[in-house]
Symmetry: C2
Subunit: 408 residues, 2 copies
């Protein structure tokens, strides 16, 4: 039997086994690309902007014409026209001449700066009086300032954000190549599990895990598929796993992974091929009885049956697996800082993910662990986030400042 692994060892095992997973690329419409992963470096096809652009409303000038200007001694420039937005320039100003230019307008040749309208005066005598000296480049964005032709504008493996969509729009990409979605199957096992529209009889319970996890996996880069509920027998689980594994990149099996008499998931993964089970047990609370397997490059995860354990393991380790297979670089996770409102005793050598609530009390964010007997799903829905308690920690004291990671 495999030795129980620490959290860091588990993450390393995931990295070693799945970081080279190959995902094909597909071309999709730009407007549908938020959250998708860029398949290869995107290069700027042109300089952006494509023209020297004014950043203010004002007058396009040759800066040397304005040297020495002040309120008491303004420069006098002949107004020879107006630059229109989006139009190609027709007039070229000569020395001593200027044109009105709006924000975003194209700077005429022979000019190198824009004087803000606030520093000019128009007496309707055909001249503009400039009250302030300009230097070359004042209020101007040059060709290529935003991006130089051929420069990498979005790196491979980036997760596209709305602002990246904006950048790609500016460059004229109406379609973009991204990695295809990871297909993730969810199988529920357990003789006692029934579907959510059935009425429980005796000690039957409805299928909580498949729905919670399915809901969490509805995201741009994943396609979750539920494969229903199977009875706790090696034959039934094996048949379902073989079917699902043909279609999926990752297969999650909920239930059946506690080290008891119903431990069929382990046997099934072990029987399906090499290397089979690569991890059996994580030294973490909750979620010790977790299994990770690998069958021809694909991943199988046996989640604990308890809803809280299953969800925590999913949130921490399945997400890590997904990001690893998608090739997403490790992200910085935002958190909130809070103050422990109560003592929380040591966890004796196991790392712990402790669900917590927080509450603003006289401008202090107070943190309350959500206690609950094992298997209560209300523990999870009553919590807004969790604290990560490391292995060496001897417990948290009332008043300690802790970092809370929000569930979403």
């Amino acid at each position: 039997m495999l030795r129980v692994k620490s959290v860091d060892e588990t993450k390393n095992i995931i990295k070693e086994n799945f970081s080279k997973y190959h995902l094909e690329t597909e071309k999709i419409k730009l407007e549908e690309a938020v959250g998708r992963i860029i398949a290869a470096d995107v290069l700027a096809p042109d300089d952006i902007p494509t023209f020297h652009r004014s950043t203010v409303d004002g007058y396009a000038v040759k800066s040397s014409d304005t040297f020495g200007s002040s309120e008491t001694l303004p420069s006098q420039l002949k107004l020879v026209g107006e630059i229109k937005m989006g139009e190609k320039l027709e007039i070229l100003p000569k020395e001593g001449e200027t044109l009105y230019i709006p924000t975003g307008g194209e700077l005429p040749e022979n000019t190198d700066a824009v004087v803000m309208i606030e520093y000019s005066e128009d007496l309707n005598d055909g001249y503009i009086y400039i009250h302030k000296a300009s230097a070359p480049g004042n209020n101007v964005v040059y060709i290529g300032d935003d991006a130089k032709k051929g420069a990498v504008i979005i790196e491979k493996d980036s997760v596209l954000r709305p602002q990246d969509i904006g950048v790609l729009a500016a460059m004229g990409f109406s379609q973009i190549s991204v990695k295809r979605k990871l297909q993730i199957g969810i199988i529920s096992t357990g003789d006692e599990i029934i579907d959510i529209d059935e009425e429980p009889y005796g000690s039957q319970v409805r299928d909580v895990n498949a729905y919670a996890i399915y809901g969490d996996l509805i995201r741009p880069s994943c396609k979750p598929v539920r494969y229903g509920i199977v009875k706790d027998t090696t034959v039934e689980i094996k048949n379902k796993v073989q079917t699902a594994l043909k279609e999926c990149d990752i297969l999650l099996i909920s239930g059946g992974s506690s080290v008891g008499i119903k431990d069929e998931t382990f046997n099934v993964i072990h029987s399906l091929g090499s290397p089979g089970v690569i991890l059996h047990g994580i030294a973490v609370k909750p979620g010790k009885p977790t299994i990770i397997g690998k069958i021809s490059e694909k991943a199988i995860v046996g989640l604990p049956g308890h809803p809280v354990s299953a969800f925590v393991i999913h949130h921490i380790f399945v997400n890590h697996l997904i990001n690893t297979m998608l090739g997403i670089p490790l992200k910085i996770t935002a958190s909130i800082a809070g103050t422990m409102a109560v003592n929380y005793p040591s966890n004796n050598g196991r790392e712990e993910y402790l669900p917590v609530q927080f509450q603003n009390e006289s401008d202090k964010m107070m943190i309350y662990p959500v206690f609950g007997k094992s298997g209560l799903i209300s523990t999870l829905s009553n919590s807004q986030g969790y604290i990560h308690i490391s292995r060496g920690n001897e417990g948290l004291n009332k008043g300690d400042i802790v970092e809370v990671f929000l569930w979403t």
Copy 2:
């Protein structure tokens, strides 16, 4: 002309005008409900669990039968059967009798506790030897411990998270009533704006804002719709706004809101009805020339034309408007703490949202402002988040600890 408003005043104006916005409800499948907003308090239709449940693998006992048990003096209980998962119990143990019970199994009548298998011994003589005294309720979850029949399990206006989907699954909700999606229209204005698949001529630029904002609005509770590009004339803008306003709850107009000669958005909103323009200008950097209007309960927002300003205003104020109209309570926002890597000068009386990058340098998270000339969209795509600098702040010094909000 309306006085420029502070950030707080702007948020109050949004609250006063749009917090009573009425959204109809619709019934949807549970598995599609993540991110949707619960229309009315959801009550537990039954006690959950529906039976007294064991939280461990072990033996169901009447606790008084185990009083005084120890390793040296175990209690001897007659093994009369095994409880099966998901089945209705048939054997009732009598005094001095026990049954094997798996985790999740239903506790038989006449028993009130479960002894973990680790504290028992089976010598295959028909008896189980118990090494530890049990108290009533040990290792048992009672009927209704997770939720009592009739109790509120999800409150009105909650945004459904995956774990809430789990709770609703446990209760047997295969469908759920949620508020319908907010329809949000996006109109781009500007004589210089062309669609992303066109080649720019002269000083034309592609439509960045509509795509970035559309991408950001692809979320469970919103339905974004692009209405294309219109020229900067009152007539054209007015026609498009009237069409879009019939179909949308919120209408975003990008461009045309700077206080210059092309200020048609203001005129259009003003001409459409009462109260019309309710805010003209926010004392914030970037994004001062923002307009908010209200026409028969619906909202119109005139965004600045600069991509960075438009995106920041969208991120801060349009999101605030959306949450207000959806009725979502103010959320706590996660952030990361970092150290300013450089000085950043004062902003003189305007609040500021400063785009920043961060970088881990010898275990310190160093924060770098993303400088960029006005209107460069690379400013936005190069930043990972922003710092909120309040109005009274006299600038940030190198070494100051600051709070960074991530863009997503």
